[in-house]
Assembly symmetry: C2
Homo-oligomer: 187 residues x 2
Amino acid sequence: MASLSAKENTMLAILGILTIGPHTGYDIKQHMEQSTQYFWKENYGQIYPGLAELLKNKDVAVRVQRQDGKPDKKIYSITEQGKQLLNNWLSQPMEHMVMLKKNELLLKVFFGSNTSADIIIGHILDHKKKLEEALQIFLGLEEWLLKQETDDPNIKYWLITNDYGKRQFSSLIHWCDDSISLLNKSI
Amino acid sequence: MASLSAKENTMLAILGILTIGPHTGYDIKQHMEQSTQYFWKENYGQIYPGLAELLKNKDVAVRVQRQDGKPDKKIYSITEQGKQLLNNWLSQPMEHMVMLKKNELLLKVFFGSNTSADIIIGHILDHKKKLEEALQIFLGLEEWLLKQETDDPNIKYWLITNDYGKRQFSSLIHWCDDSISLLNKSI
DNA sequence: GAGTTCATGTAACCGGTTACATGATTAG
DNA sequence: CTAATCATGTAACCGGTTACATGAACTC
């Protein structure tokens, strides 16, 4: 079980997807876009080299499926060793700080006194619209997850991660409303 | 008013800080760590080159203050042209998506079925502790802001950005509690 | 005909982070 | 005696994003 350093989390995210079932590199990206997209996403520039290194370390295995007209499919699956690696990573504590992503909206609001309140209100309204659209996706996903077989041990965890986004976005929609009325009051 | 491209937001963040008053590069970092740290932070590797380019474009001006024992202080202030640039940026719409930062905690929770519930509960508890500490900072900052002169037009905007963090973190603390009890139920 | 989907992969670019270099003063 | 603070700046590293290359099949 060689250490991974560097692109570590990328590779663990790939390994995680492979616990669900065998995937091609292409599939992995598609899968992430449907499930983990709002907190984790990789692009091909990371996935293909990541898979190559996982293969080199024997944490995954490949089966090549011939196709014509398209490049051959390389279907990857997780090995026992890969499962151990994932398991070890899962139990490792994280020293990540609680820090938000760089947020351009907040940067503009923070310096809002340098322009008119209406402009800031406009930005917040735009943001609210996007939050509401995103919230719909979480609600749709929740509904879908609740319909699935209850004996799949993943469902519980997937509902929890979905709930994280749901709550966060709901509270931010309220922030938009309250901030707008606060700014309107003082015009 | 030359276009900035690239490191654009970094430079606008610097310009924004300079609307509050003249600052050295060193001060700007300190200032960001106290005020915008949870949604915007730059390091010297960006601030010093950023200031150099802003100076080249005449969006800021410098005054050098001799010091002995330390490098001379370069005190930057925003020019009229810089104010126009900032103002223009403030009114520009953003096409940022609503997307969270890559979140290692959620990645582990998402793949939680590959380990024991206790381990995931442990991670969530660790996270909760950090959220609570961060929330205290927001509450402290809010208290301080409310004590300031009410005629400073910045205060209102700073309270709003602070509130963003406050709400987000509060709702996530609840998520921690609810997720833990959900995971405990099924052990 | 143009654009999207499937499917692989590489190369270049670009920005953010860390480490290094310098060096006096003050606090523990 | 060590570490932190003030104060500037550069260089190297590293990872993430975008674009490119290839090419058949299918949809609009």
